[in-house]
């Protein structure tokens, strides 16, 4: 744990933190608490419930837990997070970082640039790119695979948005792991190699123990981001039917299309609780690792 090397002292430290905290208090905590309150009413944007919203306590939560739609949506979201973030982005990001770790030429720059491009392009643009790629009749993918007439977004909607999100978000993991790998002293790898360790053994015995903390930070952030990611809506509208209606899409449809803001707010609070569970699991893992090492 780094000490107070700059001699900041608590008072000055508080002054450094204050502007950020004030802004967060005003524009994050306050509206978030308000949203939690709305979650306990039957408020709607229009209609009678807009004029006279009633306090309904935990009714919305009960309704969500009773409704198949909620559990269905939560299940899809977990699939989406595990498939695209935990397995997809984290593994692919690590693989790219590992493959590129000792390279510095044009190839590395090209790969990094393309991966990062996928990350920073605006969501609405990216959605069009993927709709064009997966198009049923003359999509690029069907032309390449020789599978004309395959409507990927209809026949394999979950797989499609999972692959899409891997494409979209791998950059963050790649960058984080590239940094983490550069902190592994080359001499240790060299020693292991001389001792006859295979690449896999080097990875397991030398690299992984050193980057565990980074792995967990990365997993925590990408899991939370993916859990709350709305972009797949632009690809599938949550469909066909409700086959890709992940939580953010469910909330969007409830709040914007149905105008049920009270219920939508309650759903966001439930999402927050699930996020909390995810975060707790990771933090526990992180603590356990730190204690072990």
């Amino acid at each position: 744990m780094p000490a107070d090397a700059a001699g900041l002292g608590r008072a000055r430290a508080a002054a450094f933190v204050a502007p950020a905290l004030l802004l967060i208090a005003g524009f994050l905590v306050f509206p978030a608490l308000w949203t939690i309150y709305l979650g306990m009413t039957d408020y709607r944007l229009t209609g009678l419930a807009a004029a006279e919203p009633a306090f309904t306590g935990l009714d919305n939560v009960r309704r969500a837990l009773d409704e198949d739609q909620f559990t269905h949506s939560l299940g899809l979201t977990l699939q989406f997070v595990v498939g695209s973030a935990v397995l997809g982005q984290a593994l692919l990001g690590f693989a790219i970082a590992w493959l590129l770790r000792e390279r510095h030429g044009a190839l590395r720059r090209l790969v990094e640039a393309l991966v990062l491009l996928a990350w920073i392009l605006p969501g609405s643009v990216v959605a069009f790119l993927w709709i064009a790629l997966l198009d049923r009749e003359d999509g690029t993918l069907n032309a390449l695979l020789g599978t004309p007439g395959t409507a990927w977004l209809v026949e394999h909607p979950m797989a499609a948005i999972i692959v899409f999100n891997i494409w979209r978000g791998t950059a963050f993991s790649m960058m984080l792991y590239a940094a983490a790998l550069s902190s592994v002293p080359p001499s240790q790898l060299e020693t292991a190699r001389l001792a006859g360790a295979s690449s896999w053994q080097q990875l397991r015995d030398v690299v992984l123990p050193r980057i565990r903390g980074h792995v967990l930070t990365n997993l925590l952030l990408i899991s939370l981001w993916t859990f709350n990611d709305f972009t797949p809506f632009l690809l599938t509208n949550g469909g066909p039917g409700d086959e890709t209606e992940i939580m953010p899409v469910f909330v969007y449809k409830t709040a914007l299309f149905n105008g049920e803001l009270g219920y939508g707010a309650a759903l966001s609070v439930l999402m927050l609780l699930v996020n909390l569970v995810i975060a707790l699991v990771y933090v526990r893992l992180l603590r356990a690792r730190e204690a072990a090492s």
Partner: protein, 273 residues
């Protein structure tokens, strides 16, 4: 070269080619459709034309909206980077009570505010503060949502920087602010660059907040204007959308190229623990 090494090398290049293809393939449409006389939803060899570009340049909303996006993204980015750097540094160096719990709580709360359900509180807050149709309102709301993640990531960076320089600077009588500016900022510059690019990208793509809070067409950012290229029945005007997509993407791509050539684009750049 031993057969095993050769095999390893072939395997590595094969994998890298696959990665390249995977990331390049979806981008094809962006390269062809804007220049196609009759763009369709599928990427195809264009019947080359610059008409789409010309038509777009005649559309006064299009170029103005890019300028607006730059203002919103620039303002948000400046606020996020400055405030999160100060906060992350202080949180990293001084043990404030309840620090970790607070950070996690804020990180979680940010997911509520960036979702759709918070639009009524955010709107009414902006309305009460007289921030409707004000870019400042959009910037403050967006900054509030982005700060927790930014602090979280930057704190990781500052945790990883060695404290020995700061100690010696302090011995020579440098003030904390001077230490931050002249020692810490250069050390975590790649992190700041990453946060900067990340926040710009978040604002650049955000539709809902600017749409709900801004009113004058003169202030609409590109993310909102992108949605106007649809007909009454909700059909996309592909010629305009593809061309605008390209135009809309260019600034972030240029920013990325600039930042990556200047600062390198990575975490904990060059710091060995």
């Amino acid at each position: 070269m031993s057969p095993r090494e050769l095999l390893g090398r072939v395997g590595r290049y094969t994998l890298l080619s696959l990665v390249l293809a995977f990331f390049a393939l979806p981008l094809l449409w962006l390269a062809t459709a804007p220049f196609d006389r009759t763009p369709e939803i599928a990427a195809s060899w264009p019947e080359f034309t610059l008409d789409n570009v010309r038509e777009l340049l005649d559309n006064e909303n299009a170029l103005r909206s890019l300028r607006n996006s730059v203002l919103l993204a620039g303002g948000t980015c400046a606020l996020v980077v400055t405030l999160s750097a100060l906060a992350a540094y202080a949180l990293s160096r001084v043990r404030l009570p309840g620090r970790d719990g607070l950070l996690y709580a804020l990180l979680l709360l940010s997911s509520i505010v960036t979702g759709t359900a918070a639009m009524v509180p955010l709107f009414n807050l902006a309305y009460e503060l007289d921030l409707i149709d004000s870019r400042l309102g959009v910037i403050l709301v967006l900054t509030g949502g982005l700060l927790p993640s930014a602090i979280f990531i930057l704190k990781d960076f500052t945790d990883a920087t060695p404290v020995s320089y700061e100690e010696s600077a302090r011995v020579f009588g440098a003030s904390p602010l001077q230490i931050v500016r002249h020692l810490v900022v250069p050390l975590i510059r790649p992190g700041l660059a990453t946060i900067g690019v990340w926040s710009v990208a978040q604002v650049w793509g955000n539709f809902l907040i600017p749409f709900l809070l801004l009113r004058s067409p003169e202030k609409s950012p590109a993310a909102v204007v992108m949605y106007t290229f649809y007909t009454e029945g909700g059909q996309p005007d592909l010629a305009l959308i593809s061309t605008f997509s390209l135009l809309y993407s260019l600034p972030v791509v240029l920013m990325f190229l600039f930042v990556s050539s200047r600062y390198g684009f990575r975490f904990h750049g060059g710091i060995k623990r």
